[in-house]
Symmetry: C2
Subunit: 310 residues, 2 copies
């Protein structure tokens, strides 16, 4: 049997067919053109499913289910996207609409949760019962797996791990609160930290880059060239990531924490100092339970695979 | 059938027999005299079980299980108390020793987790599948129930909810880290906040109380008499509690959060402002998922009932 996974994003809808080993047999992508009526977006999702089935040479009768990974708050119990700001969706019963069209069960969960699930079925956390995936991107996304299943809390409102405090009343966060982990540990925050450091230290290599050209990589490139300020910015950024991970260890004690998103491609430059921070700060310190902290493996395919695994 | 619950504390061992409705039929308590060899403490626990069975007129053959709620890190899978500083225990196989003596299964979990479980079987959260109990005492204890069962993480190392950050590098915490929630929201922290406020404002009613006589109630008594400073201290203390609860809402989205411990007896004086804070700060704010926030119900009996329910 096969499964269909739909990774519904603000920009693109990516659809794939996977086999029982969660290998993607065929993939197809169409623009979301969000903020159209939800019915139109869902019709396009359905058409993309048909295209991808034809590509893979698989019929719908050979498919067990359709899974949808959506941004925003998703109620997996009812199959309703409760609220997704970047789609402009409010209470959209996406599962009902797709299962009616295709006559097979449709399942829904949040995209960050799907990415975490994907890592446990086909990525860096295969066989892991309790794990957390943190995605360091524009924001800080979280997916929690407990007992091999996605834990999303009441009505799918949980696992907003980027929106737990690092510093009460600290930096403003996109969620309206101040001091959230996301406001310190996201790629967006790192860019801001790099810009501030550059502005304050005109002697640094960082100040040679025009502010509008500073990206999440700038500070790593400058550090590689031996810039002391860049190394300081990275050190502090690792403290921010490590502090949030320490909270996760103390609260959830997962077997494994995976880091995803573009920044995580810096690998050991980040992971080394982060592991060190967590080991020295978690409850029980050296005698405490420190989970494996490793990079996520699946990248862009995580969305499709995780949705298919729902 | 009946169940035996043992609430193993640093000061006393409280043992009870409960019926299928989790009513305590008989109870018996003996001093722990911690820091003796663990074998001696466990022998006393066993003797207390025999005493309480005789009191209740129940035989061991009528009992399904013995449950033990212990301080510290408990591995429920192996029945071993991994580390309990206030008992001086290190890797004590308490379940093996008790089940060998009595010939019935023995189960173990952390005392804060047992208290949370107790509330779901016989307290303020009956029927609730996902809930969190926060105990505001000397420290800030946490118990997490997911899908009707205790969630304690890998090797029982999780649910240390008092040891998640409120302010990175803030007040020193008993765990060795700085800025933990416990360092702001425990009764100990409230006493410290009261003392500081009193020292800085000699005109306040708080300054009339000799520092060594200040307890967790002092500030509430002064506020009741209209003292503005005391009201400010309470307001800020509610922010500290509310901020930590907001993190729990965003991360776990439980159906219900219960507050226990002596301070929670202040009732609506605390709960009103705390609910208000969470509603305005949680992810999605007014549209977000705000769980019921209510006082715990079981008090001292929670330990025995929760242990029996393991």
């Amino acid at each position: 049997m096969y499964r269909i996974g739909i990774d519904l994003g603000g920009t693109n809808i990516a659809v794939g067919v996977v086999n029982d080993a969660y290998e993607i047999l065929a993939e197809h992508s169409v623009p979301t053109r969000a903020h159209r009526p939800a019915e139109q977006v869902i019709a396009d999702m359905g058409d993309a499913v048909e295209t991808v089935l034809a590509k893979a040479g698989v019929t719908i009768a050979q498919c067990r289910s359709i899974g949808i990974g959506s941004p925003g708050t998703c109620d997996s119990g009812t199959g309703v996207v409760v609220r997704a700001y970047n789609l402009g969706w409010d209470h959209v019963p996406v599962c009902d609409m797709l299962s009616r069209r295709f006559g097979i069960p449709a399942y829904l969960n949040n995209d960050a949760n799907c990415a975490a699930l994907a890592e446990t079925v086909a990525g860096a956390a295969v066989g892991c019962k309790n794990m957390v995936l943190i995605t360091l991107g524009t924001g800080v996304g979280g997916g929690i797996i407990i007992d091999g299943k996605i834990y999303a809390g009441t009505a799918g409102a949980g696992a907003e791990l980027g929106h737990t405090l690092l510093i009460l009343d600290g930096e403003p966060c996109t969620c309206g609160r101040r001091g959230c982990w996301e406001a310190y540990a996201s790629a967006t925050a790192l860019i801001q930290q790099t810009k501030r450091a550059a502005a304050e230290h005109p002697e640094s290599l960082l100040a040679d880059v025009p502010p509008e050209e500073i990206t999440g990589r700038t500070v790593f490139d400058a550090a590689d060239q031996g810039d002391a300020l860049a190394q300081q910015v990275i050190h502090r950024y690792c403290v921010y990531i490590g502090a949030g991970l320490t909270d996760l260890v103390n609260a959830l004690a997962p077997e494994m924490i995976l880091l995803g998103g573009g920044i995580s491609r810096q690998g050991e430059k980040l992971l080394g100092p982060i592991r060190n921070y967590v080991r020295h700060n978690c409850f029980g310190q050296e005698q405490g339970m420190v989970p494996v902290i490793a990079p996520a493996k699946l990248g862009n395919e995580a969305g499709i695979i995780g949705a298919a695994a729902l």
